[in-house]
């Protein structure tokens, strides 16, 4: 999040008067990755100019003399991750504005940066109101923005990630970047009314068995957000506090597992019921007790136990009759 960190403060101030026309999401290119190869090549070439200076490589071998390497070190990006990201088809200069095109960069260049809402107006409007009701808004509203969690240079769209595990790693990484780092937590903590030390995440969730396995298989937001209320936005952004967070295991560990509607939302669309397993989309990643049981094997159990009980009842009945008959004969 190096570069994004520096963007954070600015992104919150929504910039007006900047034209985002070229790569707006509703344009034919849809921004993510333009369909025609010529446009892709052009964007790559533009971005290559920025990449020439904004990578680790350039820190070691500066392409230009007299650069402020300390500040550059805080403004690095990974071009491979970027090209795969949801914004990978976008030109850097669309987002950052013209002021960064030449080096040294224009002193006022940072002001021209686009806020997320410039392009994601509809989502941002709804999401912002959810964030306002979040735990983080209580004490941190001025220091918490979209880029506290989102890294526009690396984030990938959940629906495009084939593997739910990757979605989990990406999304939990957002939360754990602060909640597993005393340093980051303290950075934000300065604005808290009273100083708080970071509670250890595993200790807080001690009641959850196989805690580490859960972190690898489900997302924090599965339990810390209510269900999404908008059909076009998969994730509700209202982060719930300790009191409201979900603690009921059967939300996931049951036949009607909510994992289907949340984490596996994209996978279930591809699901073909496999060999009689319920929620079989999950099986590639996990066996989830209660949720991924096999209906054929369950029927086998019902039948075997039922037949056995019937046979034993019959046997017992015959024994009683036998005993009664003997008694009558004997007396």
């Amino acid at each position: 999040m190096r570069l994004a960190g520096s963007v954070a403060g600015v992104a919150a101030i929504s910039v007006t008067g900047v034209t985002a026309s070229a790569q707006a999401p509703d344009s034919t290119t849809r921004g993510a990755m333009p369909a025609d190869p010529a446009t892709v090549a052009m964007v790559r070439q533009w971005n290559g100019e920025c990449v020439a200076c904004h990578t680790e490589q350039a820190l070691l071998f500066p392409p230009k003399a007299g650069m402020d390497l300390d500040r550059l070190a805080d403004a690095l990006m990974d071009p491979f991750a970027f090209n795969q990201s949801q914004h990978g088809g976008m030109a850097c200069k669309t987002f950052h504005g013209k002021g960064f095109q030449d080096y040294p960069h224009d002193k006022q260049a940072g002001d021209a940066i686009l806020g997320c809402s410039e392009c994601h107006a509809k989502e941002a409007f709804r999401i912002q109101s959810q964030l306002d009701r979040s735990v983080h808004a209580r004490n941190l509203s001025d220091r918490f923005s979209c880029t506290s969690c989102h890294d526009p240079h690396v984030d990938r769209v959940a629906r495009d990630l084939a593997d739910a595990r990757q979605v989990v790693a990406q999304d939990n990484g957002k939360c754990l970047e602060c909640h597993n780092s005393d340093e980051r937590f303290a950075e934000l903590g300065v604005s808290l009314p009273e100083a708080r030390t970071r509670p250890d995440i595993d200790t807080i969730h001690e009641w959850l068995p196989n805690t580490q396995r859960h972190w690898q298989a489900v997302r924090c937001i599965e339990c810390h957000t209510p269900a999404s209320t908008h059909s076009t936005i998969a994730v509700n952004h209202q982060i719930l506090d300790a009191e409201q967070a979900e603690r009921n295991c059967t939300v996931c560990h049951s036949r009607d597992s909510s994992l289907n509607l949340r984490l596996y939302r994209w996978q279930t669309e591809r699901e073909a019921s496999e060999l009689g397993f319920l929620n079989s989309a999950i099986l590639g990643d996990s066996y989830v007790i209660g949720a991924t049981r096999n209906v054929y094997l369950d029927q086998l159990a019902y039948w075997l136990v039922g037949l056995l009980l019937a046979a034993l009842a019959l046997h017992g009945g015959l024994r009683i009759i036998g005993a009664l008959v003997r008694k009558r004969k004997g007396s």
Binding site: W207, P209, N210, R213, R247, N248, C249, T250, V251, H253, S254, R255, L283, G284, D285, S286, Y287, I289, G290, T292, R293, N294, L297, D298, L300, A301, L304, V305, L308, L309, L312, H315, G316, L318, R319, I321, G322, A323, R326
Partner: protein, 208 residues
């Protein structure tokens, strides 16, 4: 009066009853986990089941280890081994008793003695249950408790899926065994006499 023989030493009786309690607890919590349903009124809540099942399962695993060692130590394991000579005849006779003789009040063909407290049918079934299905159940249960021990992938699915299915099937076999076992415990000379023997250790041949 009755003549009594001591058949079951104390350690076997203690093992049997603690085993029985654990098995029943594991069956109830196991069903509650497998068929977990937020709307159910009779299943044990998932969070409690998960905890209890793991603790009881570990206790059962330890107890099973004790059982295997104590059996080897005391020579009791010999009781479980089916004796090949005339084996079919003896099993046949035992089956005939359960399917015919018992209804006519005939005496048990092979009443327990200190040398042979199992009949051949018991030997066969107990041997399979205790030395085949129990180890499968215990080992898959231990893997389930520490899922990192499971293989990464099996048949293109998460490795734990196959472990879970085997655990479920082995558990099913043991539950079927347990139901039959409890019922057959009523087939002594009197309805309660086998249970009494399992508690006191004494087999009483009652005069009629």
């Amino acid at each position: 009066m009755s003549d009594r023989v001591l058949i079951l030493p104390l350690w076997i009786r203690l093992w049997h009853w603690s085993n029985a309690v654990l098995m029943i607890v594991l069956t109830i919590t196991g069903i509650s986990l497998h068929f977990a349903d937020p709307e159910s009124t009779w299943l044990v809540p998932f969070e409690i089941s998960a905890r209890v099942h793991i603790v009881a399962g570990l206790a059962l695993a330890i107890l099973y280890g004790f059982f295997v060692i104590a059996n080897a130590w005391s020579g009791n394991w010999w009781q479980y081994v089916p004796k090949p000579q005339g084996w079919r005849d003896r099993v046949g006779k035992q089956m005939r008793f359960y399917f015919r003789g018992i209804f006519h009040g005939e005496p048990h063909p092979y009443p327990p003695t200190p040398q042979a407290n199992f009949n051949s049918l018991q030997q066969l079934v107990y041997w399979i249950v205790m030395y085949l299905f129990m180890p499968i159940l215990v080992v898959t249960g231990l893997i389930f408790t520490w899922p990192d021990l499971a293989p990464r992938r099996v048949f293109g699915m998460d490795g734990l899926v196959s472990v879970a299915v085997i655990h479920y099937l082995a558990g099913l076999v043991i539950v079927l065994f347990m139901l039959s076992h409890i019922y057959l415990a009523t087939t002594g000379e009197r309805v309660g006499s086998l249970v009494r023997m399992m508690i006191t250790g004494w087999h009483e041949h009652e005069k009629r």
